[in-house]
């Protein structure tokens, strides 16, 4: 009999992240489609907008590109767990469900942040974009906004894999819940880009949103995972 010890939740979370990233590295199906989608959005809209002053609409455009790429990534990240029924193997194991959830959130977060880093130069090139406000604020907004999207998105993707029309369900559930965050992200980004006012209130709001919803997801995930 092997010792029935349990690894710490941080350790298990990290094991989940490592596994997810390794799977993604080998198949690359999520990242490629995400990247391609974001690229198409950037290029197509660069034809549609005037080059001179795109700053007021850029906040919205950037986040639309990331929001929809995120939903793609989230759907795929759980679809992978359903193939061969692997999720069941996790559920019969004694490992806590929270580690699975946190692992998925972190894995997706890393992917999306990577995508954002790769896309940022493209926005500069295609829209001749440079920020009037301080750059560090943009970074903070991007990190908080991405976390807000990913944490809720991972949760609702886990929910929508239990429905009949999976791919349709995720945006339907995720978008209304994220409306406050999305509005705040967009207005904050626009404020920094155009240099009109400091987005302090918005950043606090986003931070609060992240805290509230991360807690809620964390508390309810096990229930949702075992809903059958």
């Amino acid at each position: 009999m092997t010792q029935p010890t349990q690894m710490s939740i941080t350790r298990l979370t990290w094991i989940n992240v490592a596994k997810d990233l390794r799977l993604e590295w080998r198949s690359r199906d999520v990242f490629n489609s995400m990247m391609f989608f974001a690229l198409v959005v950037v290029v197509v809209f660069s034809f549609a907008f005037e080059r001179d002053d795109s700053r007021p609409v850029m906040g919205g455009l950037i986040w639309i590109a990331f929001l929809f790429s995120t939903t793609m990534a989230l759907n795929q990240s759980w679809a992978r767990e359903l193939r061969n029924g692997v999720l069941d193997a996790y559920r019969v194991s004694p490992a806590p469900a929270e580690a699975l959830f946190l692992g998925k959130v972190l894995g997706n977060f890393i992917l999306i942040v990577l995508l954002e880093c790769l896309m940022a130069p493209l926005f500069v090139v295609f829209y001749n974009l440079n920020s009037v406000g301080p750059l560090w604020q943009l970074v903070v907004i991007a990190l908080l906004g991405t976390w807000a999207l990913v944490v809720n998105g991972t949760f609702f993707a886990a929910m929508s894999i239990r429905t009949r029309n999976r791919e349709l369900m995720l945006p339907l559930l995720l978008l209304p819940i994220s409306v406050p965050a999305v509005i705040t992200m967009v207005t904050a980004t626009t404020q920094v880009l155009t240099g009109e006012g400091a987005p302090d209130v918005q950043m606090k709001f986003l931070a609060g949103f992240c805290v509230i919803f991360t807690t809620a997801c964390f508390l309810l995930f096990e229930t949702v995972l075992n809903a059958e």
């Binding site: 429905t163 369900m169 209304p176 409306v179 709001f205 919803f213 309810l220 229930t223 809903a227 059958e228």
Partner: protein
């Protein structure tokens, strides 16, 4: 016994609604700046009260379900979400009709209160969609979890209202700004609509319980002939100024009652269908 109380309550609702509407349309003083259009207020505010109350009950029932796993709590949650969406729809229809006259626009896209109300509506519509499309065994748990999330957005709505600007008139109840006659009539209407909301919920709840029983009897998914209540009459009105404010007032009242009545019709058709299913079940 149950049905006796139900019909008594129904009669009470009719009397209250008729009296409240009469008071609102005829007896209440005409507001100085907005004129008769302001009377929309007597359907708009009570609908909001009922809608938010329903969402609150939905939240409590969902928590109760997550804790106790009782099918009654689940039925109550499903019911209140649906009825709440109907009342919230009335809020979202009557609001713009008033705004078109008072502000000159149907919708003010940067107004946080309008957006958050619309967002609440979207949230609970997505909740209803989830209830219809999740796989049989998991519906109740998933719906309950979503309800908790949806309700978490409410404090955020409040914060947002405080932090960001809004054109929406601030609540005037209890302030000296509101004519006390208007206030009394508003309260009367609020009570009337709350009773109305309770009545519909009760009716809907019994339907839901019957559905649950039928499903338990033979595990077959109840057909979700949904969105009847979402079908809204298309409306077109001329620019303000050329038109009598009464047109907006009537538009508001007609829209509100059109929605309430079509929802009642929807419930009646559901009742008829369930009765047929019960009969088939008894025969089979």
């Amino acid at each position: 016994m149950k049905s006796k109380i139900f019909f008594l309550l129904a009669a009470l609702t009719c009397v209250l609604l008729a009296y409240g509407t009469y008071q609102g349309l005829v007896v209440a003083p005409t507001e100085e700046t907005m004129g008769d259009v302001q009377r929309i207020f007597y359907v708009h505010v009570p609908a909001a009260t009922v809608g938010f109350t329903m969402f609150f009950v939905n939240f409590l029932a969902s928590l109760l379900y997550l804790w106790k796993r009782s099918s009654r709590a689940d039925a109550l949650a499903g019911t209140t979400a649906e009825v709440g969406v109907v009342f919230c729809t009335v809020v979202l229809i009557t609001g713009p009709i008033w705004a078109r006259y008072a502000w000159g626009v149907w919708w003010s896209p940067w107004d946080m209160r309008l957006n958050t109300t619309l967002m609440l509506w979207l949230l609970y519509v997505s909740y209803l969609v989830l209830r219809r499309s999740s796989t049989a065994g998991s519906t109740s748990v998933l719906a309950a979890a979503l309800a908790v999330f949806a309700f978490l957005d409410v404090p955020i709505v409040y914060m947002a209202n405080r932090w960001f600007r809004t054109h929406h008139p601030a609540p005037m109840i209890g302030t000296p700004n509101l004519d006390h006659r208007m206030q009394n009539i508003l309260f009367l209407n609020m009570i009337a609509f709350l009773v109305f909301g309770a009545l519909i919920s009760w009716f809907r709840y019994e339907l839901e319980r019957t559905t649950q029983k039928i499903n338990a009897a033979h595990i077959r998914k109840a057909a979700g002939s949904g969105a009847a209540m979402l079908a809204l009459p298309a409306m077109w009105m001329a620019t303000p100024g050329h038109v009598n404010p009464l047109a907006y007032l009537w538009g508001g009242y007609l829209a509100a009652w059109g929605i309430y009545l079509s929802y009642l019709l929807f419930l009646m058709s559901k009742l008829a269908k369930l009765k047929k299913e019960m009969a088939e079940l008894a025969a089979g």
